[in-house]
Symmetry: D2
Subunit: 506 residues, 4 copies
């Protein structure tokens, strides 16, 4: 079938895919490897916001009660917060603030989550919590200015509908926390944006509707709603890792669509919806994240997600993470688009390819997205659809497109990632899966991680270029077609290169 890409745009490519990206816990952002990875991602992808856990946890050191001469007092210490946020802003990214988890000294219990033991219990004193929130937000406004901070969404807690993150997944307790927190934020300035409830998929049904009901009934401000989306099945544990089944990628889009569906008819019907985490597997030790399959699996999701939500945040931009402990090997199934030390995974390239798409959407289908930018460059993103049973053949997918391009010829540059090409994970396995690669191995991995490139000139006939793309297993490919303005002088004749008399016979 020939896909006839129309000349006139059908719409604009939404920025929802790059609006936000996920990160490991807050204090990991102090690390150089983390910042090196973020700098790379910002240079080649350019996310707008970044969201992760742990801002208020003890390793960040914000909440600091003390006693002096028999009196209790509290200091709020923002040294590390400022170091991280200064670095973010310097790298051209802003925080999507998540308020949580609980400082041990303010906690009502000792339930913790993750290897790094974030305390997930409610505050033992809600007014102290409110003071902590207020002081934190005031500090941000003081240091970064209200104009800036007004643009930062502030989300209350993480996945309170799971017992793992909130004892008993107690919705009333969450509502109380949300109410106190939202008011504390708005006390600082009414124009600040606060939202929640940061739902995990798979919690008890009806949460979002009840959240809408509670907040509207009680006049609690909600500037956006948020939930998460994952498609993996139960974890089959092995040491330092898991295997999981995957639902089809369309399930992710269904999850994206859920909040608007669920809120229809409620007081929150119109508010922005952010998917503040999404990925295939929700585990930081599932090798799927390192593979080409991951890129091909997510391609239709990133191409279409913007129709459904205001943002969907890839969880996470790099492998500096530690929820399941310190990794024992370079590739370990981490969430990152980048490994430690900046080796690019296939999913990184999916995002880097998207960053090279134009603003005007010309066509979109189940295996392709076609755009054009202001300079007339047409970009075709194409992918081999994934069968989650893993039964795709090696060279199974072909597309034929007729693409409108200006001028008389086009320069084609094709960048490809698949099971071998642009695939550092494959190279790493072939190397013997070195736990901590030596410098020469890292160099080889970085080389193996670059997409394969192909280029040629194509004639433009009747304003169109005809493309036939054959995709390998789990391939994601970007084809860029740039109109050629021929500047070679009349005397240029390749046939004379070796001193011969030339094609023109001079």
């Amino acid at each position: 079938m020939l896909i006839h890409v129309p000349q006139a745009p059908t719409g604009r490519l939404s920025d929802a895919w790059r609006f936000c990206v996920g990160t490991g816990r807050f204090d990991l952002a102090l690390r150089r490897d983390y910042q090196d990875s973020l700098a790379l991602a910002q240079r080649e992808i350019g996310f707008r916001y970044i969201r992760g856990h742990g801002l208020l946890c003890d390793p960040v050191g914000v909440y600091r009660p003390y006693e002096y001469r028999g009196q209790r007092g509290v200091r709020y210490a923002f040294g590390y917060v400022d170091q991280v946020l200064d670095a973010y802003l310097e790298l051209g990214i802003r925080p999507f603030v998540e308020l949580g988890f609980m400082p041990a000294a303010l906690a009502s219990g000792d339930q913790t989550v993750f290897w790094w033991r974030g305390n997930v219990t409610p505050p033992r004193d809600h007014s102290e919590w409110a003071a902590l929130v207020r002081s934190t937000v005031e500090h941000l406004v003081d240091r970064y200015g209200l104009d800036e901070v007004r643009g930062w969404p502030i989300e209350v807690w993480n996945e309170p509908n799971l017992d793992l993150f909130w004892p008993g997944a107690d919705q009333d307790a969450y509502h109380r926390l949300y109410q106190v927190t939202a008011h504390a934020v708005k006390d600082v300035d009414a124009s600040l944006q606060v939202g929640g409830p940061s739902l995990a998929p798979g919690g008890e049904p009806g949460w979002l509707e009840r959240f809408a009901e509670f907040t509207s009934a009680n006049g609690v401000p909600v500037d956006f709603v948020s939930r998460h989306a994952y498609t993996s099945g139960p974890a089959q544990q092995v040491p330092f890792g898991v295997y999981q089944t995957l639902a089809p990628a369309t399930d992710l889009l269904d999850q994206f669509a859920a909040p608007r569906r669920e809120l229809a008819g409620t007081a929150l019907a119109g508010v922005p919806v952010h998917i503040t985490e999404y990925n295939s597997s929700y585990r930081p030790d599932n090798p799927i994240h390192d593979t080409a399959l991951q890129a091909a699996y997510l391609a239709p999701v990133v191409a279409a997600g913007g129709d459904l939500v205001d943002s969907f945040s890839y969880w996470t931009f790099c492998d500096v993470f530690e929820e399941a402990g310190v990794p024992t090997t370079l590739f370990h199934g981490g969430f990152g688009l980048l490994t430690h030390r900046q080796v690019k995974k296939p999913a990184y390239h999916l995002y880097a390819f998207l960053a090279r798409m134009g603003e005007a959407v010309l066509a979109r289908g189940e295996d392709h997205l076609v755009t054009r930018d202001g300079a007339g460059r047409v970009a075709v993103l194409a992918w081999a659809p994934v069968d989650v049973t893993g039964r795709e053949p090696a060279n199974r997918h072909t597309l034929r497109l007729s693409v409108p391009v200006a001028g008389r010829a086009a320069f084609l540059l094709r960048s490809t990632v698949d099971e071998q090409r642009g695939n550092a994970w494959a190279a790493w396995c072939e190397m013997g899966s070195p736990a901590s690669p030596r410098p020469a191995q890292l160099d080889a991995l970085r080389e193996a991680a670059e997409p394969a490139r192909e280029h040629r000139q194509l004639p433009v006939l009747d304003g169109r270029v005809e493309l036939e793309l054959t995709l390998a297993r789990h391939e994601v490919t970007l084809v860029e077609l740039t109109p050629v303005t021929e500047q070679a002088p009349q005397w240029w004749d390749e046939a004379r290169l070796l001193g011969g008399s030339g094609g023109g016979g001079e």
Copy 2:
């Protein structure tokens, strides 16, 4: 009194002062702020080795037992270790390896030290510990090469003569640990250097002698011995800080001298001695570390310490530390030569001044050190001796020196740090002690942190320059005298600058 500095050197300035520097726990070295500070210190000071705690603690993730199909196994994971050591070597510094503390999964108890809870109990299985040590050292040799690692001293544990770091300060238990560890190191290669016992000052007397006795009696290898030195009194606690009395600086030199004195006549009489930690106060929250007093107090120690030991390691090069938790303010009495974000403290300049001294020592006294380098530049380091009762007057100290310099004139450059000049801490107090300074404040602090500079040309008469130096309270000053080769042309006449007819009357 005129100090007549002789023309002929009296000896060479030992490198003991720069042989090693201390650092916060191992995984803090992953941080960007830490590495930025280390890069600065290496550029302007240039230490040879770096030593700190925590290599084998859980946050570094080396020791990783697991079960699979009913069998126990262990993985050793060196990803973070390699990240840190790669960074060190790139910055021109090498590890002075400290083996400790105990991975929780290998510990015999749950006693921990510090806010970051390092487990300080003996291994529950000495052969597993030996395997861990062997694997670690083997990995280092494999990645960095035996030629390189052979130069890295390997120290067994930290301050086992304090109950804080070793339950009951049990010397027999330490001897057992040392023996097992030293043999495990030598199993990898007999040329590797292992040592201990890393004694704290103020432990029970006789430790070192007994260590010598045990090791020689049992044929346990000891390539060097190590101890620490501090001179502060008991901590008078306030929130987030302490005040302490200080013993005179000569006490530090006495502590440096102790190991050689104590080992005289034992089998260890000749081995190298490293002071693997030293400072005034042993507390990471004593404001003394931030002051000019600290620099003036330590000046005679760094000038003379090399006579007594092979190295003495300033504890620590930067404030990224966390033994007492996350700091609540930029200046907080941390050990660092540099604060977070690279504000230089007066003690930093003491070291930076030392790095500008020449190799040939011409003179040394209780308030000065005079050297010459290969290019003929004479450097005078002078300081106002400190009264530990704090009763020095503002402008109390004067030196007069007659200094031999080649040529007919000398260029003098004087760099000074005292209670006001080159003193970011003073500026910070004057600013109102901002907990987390804003960028403009950080800029001002960095400017305030630079030494005052003064320069002029001095005539050299009979091969000598006469200097009269008046030192302010707690001043440390560096005077550099460089022989002048006059290259100004004959037609240069400052008097003609504004078009006048000139001094020479042209």
Copy 3:
């Protein structure tokens, strides 16, 4: 006399002082030393535009006639142009385009200017010149976008009222060139800005009026007018240098004022006026440029110039220049704010101090300028007025100011440059005027080049701080007063630093 600085601003500080800066010839911008200097100046000063000669000269290689098979043709080659402009934009500065001088192959004669031999003759064919201009401007618009290039002023030629730059200083010939050029620019896009006539001081009188007359009579577009300003007398030559008398600084301001005065009543009465070059001496080998006198001399000019013109462009930001050949010594009286290798001259600091002034002007006088910024920081720029006969005493000038500051205390930071402090030139002379300083000497010069800093806390009484400033010979000083928010905790007591019982007697 006490200067009572009012609380309410009297106006805004114009950006005229930083609107533009001068540079050596176009292709020198390809050099790394040049770009390093520009990067430094942009970081600490931040100019908006940069203007220099030589865009169309042969070393840039734009105009490239050829013959092929008996036909003449022309290629326009913009490789170097793009390298330079890309670098400018990357450094946050834009070109103030000067069209000139003449490609040899398009020249009507062989008169050249400068050591680097710029051909200054009219085009031998005005339509070929117009084609060159059009192609050049089209290329800029094509590469950088019309929105961007529309903001770049385009000036026609340089100092055509001097025979040195335009044979016979032939005004009619210039008018013809201007007419052709202005139309060629506007042919590309009518919104582009073109202007002239870039007059030198000291040419024949009446030029500007005649230019206004010609352009209005002939409908020739003029978007701005430009002239230059210098105040030095005739050159008293010595090898590789000159001495010159100087007129008082007020003469510079008179020259700034001239265009508006001369154009009053003409058709060009309202157009923007740019002083596209100014300095004390017009010679690139007058040591005056390297001195503190230069900074003090220009201080009243930069403080007041914005009243008179839209911009005045310091000629030049760095010593990479070569109009009088390759310099024979590091300091050689070059125009630069910076020497080769980024040693800062006193005039650099004058500009860096200005960059730290606030937007609101509170007071201005013959020896001071006082501003406040949005954060409440008050900045006082003060200078010791210069006597151009050089008869100022060493410590001659005192100011007393009563300055309004918010809060209860102020942090004062004073930065000073004078005959010794912040004066690398003085240090260089003292060093023996090394022609090409060794690395260690360059380090010392960079240290000597930094302003002296002084800081303290001052009480604010009745909303005011009283300042008494004593200025040394040729001193320029910046005093910044920042309101203090005291954050020191109640338990902080300096008296307890050494473990004493403290001032408050705990």
Copy 4:
């Protein structure tokens, strides 16, 4: 035919290929683009020395006669020299000093060479020339130290056997120059190395023999001899370019071999021989330099050249050059391994591949070179032999090798450059040969310039891997085989990735 690569090395790979590289004229080294290119080449290739023309020419400004009060004098100004040499040393490369050409003020005539007009006439006063040489060398020794400068070869003039570079190619005049110069160098220090005569190919026969005769007869020191090698035929001129025939690559090796052959039996029989320039075409505007053919053509030369000479210096490392004027297009047939703005040409990769070869040579043939490094990595460099008539088929060349590798498996990484892959020039032509590419085009060119990478794991059978390499037209390929130490854990099972039960059936 199967090439059986032996296990035991046949010798060591000489460093002659990387001992030296050529550069455009001395002052071009001041440019940022030049230094950026050099930094890249040093990082990925790592040359030892760099040689080019123009050290003593007027744009560098060394020789500066003046008059003062009726007396003549000379200043020697080394500001630019030092800037360049400091940059070289910082980039890890040293000067191979070429003394020339003639300062205009010291010249006996006005014959010049190149667009940049280097004066090539003998000195009008040999003792002034000797003073200039002595002062220059003294300055180098003074600034960089005798130990350092002793390692820098010093070559007298360039190609004096061509009238283009030395009027009349007058050998007697050259002998006089050489004699005076060599003695001036040795006057500074007898251990410095001086040599010549830097012969062009194609001059009059017998030069070298006469040079040997003259120098030995007159006791003139000669520490090395030098000549150049090129293989292109006469230039067929087109605007801004030429076409030329090429002799087979073996001609280059013949030219390399010539000096030893010619000097056999003379007094210079044993001295080191440096080919201080070589390339295919001697023209800086022959497109051949930009092609894959160039890389394949030179591959056998760089693989074997070290047998014949002590060094052969690729002329030149980057396109910043200007002998034929400013280039009019990015690709213009320049000598560079890199274009302006660091686009890599195929020949760059040939050198980068060589830099990845091991020290031990295992095999060498007309289409391959096989080495092993200390870590056991075997590298195969293979190329498709070039037919200088250009009649090679597209896929014409196949190699089969049996390669000894340790262990049970090998990781293969193949990097390839040919007519399409790793070929920015091809991409540039396809883009329409943009004269000055826009930023997005430069990015695409840099991507197109990277070699294609391929990787897989191969079984090692009986200590050997069997390789079959098919080479495309003008392909140069590097195959690296690294022994695999398998670290994948027993529980790793790719078949379980999607949650299936796995290959092993758990």
